[in-house]
């Protein structure tokens, strides 16, 4: 793979050329097969800043080209030996040319989607700048996915500035380089390209993501029901963790030890609560009818200990999976909700609740923080996260931690 960056005022244009051994069908770090549609994209910064360190440009490019690269990657600007080493040990690729020193920085930025998880992270770090990446159309690809209202989410992120937060909205069409399964990030870390290109201007020494307990330790949606300490995307000593660290921007998961119930509660208690939005479809308000709205309403109702407010019925297509037996994606949160929402038997989750037989006691661990997630936080921010978790959430007991570590083992 050969990678070329060109700058045109605010816009960085990326072009990547396949070497003979490369293929346009590849695999993302989570195992998903993905296909390449086209080999160029752009990243438009919000304001004019000096060129970032070559390692930052290289990591940003790697989040886009990694799935299709077989054995070598050639950058148009030399990278540090430290970065080349991380690419070699993580992916087994020869990376170069190599020249110059690695970079460092000191501040933490938050990769900010406007969703509950990243809002919770933003609330934990009130001084941290927020970096939002907005999907825009690709000039070579007709946009058939206009129901995804990236403009609305970007608008909400922009509104966060009203609370005095430092917010940058960076636009990119990079999701359209994918043709299969649909437009999206080639690697999950591509959401950070804006933060990476601004890392020198903002003096960043770390990038925080909103990945919570389910995504980091319980395998998220793809590795269903499995304890995943070695998670290839987010473990600190995984390939991606080491690459980001080599570029002086280690991955930080401040809410990696808590469940979506906790991030929901933190986000709704934060000063950014009016700008929280998990629905990708609604405009002035969440649509209230998509699968995500239904799932999040279950969690919110559980957190607020009230009946669900939804017009979705068990017969609706988005509720179909909850009429079938488990396992479910995000099952820990379904158990949590079914155990707590009053009148669950009147909701689309009635059948799931019968199957799961969860209780408040059996799901109490989801209200606490999993301690190894704190140990994994890079040193400059570890104590702050630990203090926050101890003071406002509480740590899991060894028995509760065992529930994380045996998740899925008995199924």
């Amino acid at each position: 793979m050969r990678v070329l960056w060109a700058r045109d005022d605010l816009t960085w244009r990326l072009q990547f050329l396949l070497d003979p051994e490369d293929s346009d069908t590849g695999t993302c770090a989570d195992g998903q097969r993905i296909e390449l549609r086209t080999n160029s994209c752009g990243v438009r910064l919000a304001e004019s800043i000096p060129d970032p360190h070559n390692d930052l440009l290289a990591v940003a490019a790697w989040t886009i080209v990694a799935p299709w690269t077989k054995s070598r990657v050639t950058f148009d600007r030399p990278i540090s030996a430290r970065l080349a080493e991380a690419l070699c040990s993580g992916w087994g690729v020869d990376a170069g040319p190599v020249s110059g020193d690695a970079r460092t920085g000191s501040r933490l930025a938050v990769s900010y989607s406007s969703g509950a998880d990243s809002v919770a992270v933003a609330a934990m770090f009130p001084e941290a700048p927020l970096a939002h990446l907005q999907r825009v159309s690709h000039r070579r690809v007709p946009n058939r996915w206009t129901h995804y209202r990236s403009d609305v989410l970007a608008g909400l992120a922009g509104l966060a500035a009203k609370t005095g937060r430092e917010v940058s909205v960076v636009q990119s069409d990079l999701e359209f380089v994918l043709s299969f399964p649909r437009p999206g990030y080639p690697e999950h870390q591509a959401v950070a390209v804006g933060a990476l290109l601004q890392a020198d201007a903002l003096d960043l020494g770390g990038i925080a993501f909103g990945y919570e307990l389910g995504s980091r330790w319980l395998g998220g949606g793809r590795y269903l029901l499995r304890y995943t300490p070695e998670n290839p995307m987010w473990a600190q000593d995984g390939a991606w963790g080491r690459l980001f660290a080599a570029a002086g921007t280690p991955i930080v998961l401040p809410v990696g030890g808590v469940s979506e119930a906790t991030t929901m509660r933190l986000s709704l208690e934060s000063e950014l609560r009016d700008q929280v939005r998990w629905c990708l479809r609604g405009t002035t308000t969440p649509c209230g009818t998509c699968g995500k709205c239904l799932y999040k309403e279950l969690i919110q109702a559980a957190v607020e200990r009230r009946p669900m407010r939804t017009s979705v019925t068990a017969a609706a297509p988005v509720a179909k999976k909850w009429q079938e037996p488990p396992p479910y994606g995000g099952q820990e949160m379904i158990e949590y909700g079914c155990a707590r929402v009053p009148g669950i038997e009147e909701t689309p989750f009635a059948r799931a609740a019968e199957f799961l037989q969860a209780t408040v006691a059996s799901t109490a661990w989801l209200d606490r923080c999993y301690p190894p997630a704190i140990d994994e936080i890079p040193e400059p921010w570890r104590d702050q996260v630990r203090a926050y978790m101890v003071d406002s959430i509480g740590l899991m007991t060894p028995d509760e931690a065992r529930q994380v570590e045996t998740w899925g083992a008995d199924r």
Binding site: L17, P20, R37, P142, R144, P181, R222, L224, V318, A409
Partner: protein, 161 residues
């Protein structure tokens, strides 16, 4: 059914470590539930869009039929007002069934509806075929670059000989 049996059997006799390994292999080979779910969700949304579009087409067809029918005999009050407009216009143009604009909005003829459907079909197919063109372009440059580097190596060997 087969998977169910495997699951039941595994639960009965196989130690959890092996069960996990087997499941990891299965998962690596087949699309995960999450992917299925996403794909199904997209399908559902598409289906809903198609239904909505079809409904819109029906509505337009109805409007067009009503405006045509209204020219000869009065229908509902809405059709009446539009038919009045069209009956005023049609003697001059003397084209029955041609598009007619009323105070209530645009009335579309069946021919226009058909043209709209055709445009929709074309847009979808064009986007899909463009995907193929874009992919082919990447492959083409990959082949050209490979050829170039072979040629360059050949020249170098010739010169050093």
């Amino acid at each position: 059914m087969f998977l169910l049996m495997v699951r039941v059997l595994m639960r009965m006799v196989v130690p959890s470590r092996i069960r996990r390994a087997a499941r990891a292999r299965l998962d690596a080979r087949y699309a995960s539930r999450a992917d299925h779910r996403d794909a199904l969700f997209e399908l559902k949304m598409l289906r809903r869009e198609v239904v909505a579009l079809r409904r819109e087409v029906d509505r337009l067809r109805e409007g067009a039929a009503r405006s045509q029918g209204g020219a000869s005999q009065a229908g509902s009050s809405a059709a009446q007002s539009s038919s009045q407009a069209s009956s005023k216009a049609s003697p001059a143009s003397s084209q029955p069934g041609a598009k007619a604009t009323s105070k209530g909005g645009v009335v579309v003829s069946p021919a226009q509806v058909a043209r709209g459907e055709e445009a929709y079909r074309l847009a979808i197919e064009t986007a899909e075929s463009l995907d193929q063109v874009l992919q082919n372009e990447v492959r083409l440059w990959q082949a050209i670059d490979a050829l170039r580097s072979t040629l360059r190596q050949g020249q170098y060997t010739d010169a050093s000989r």
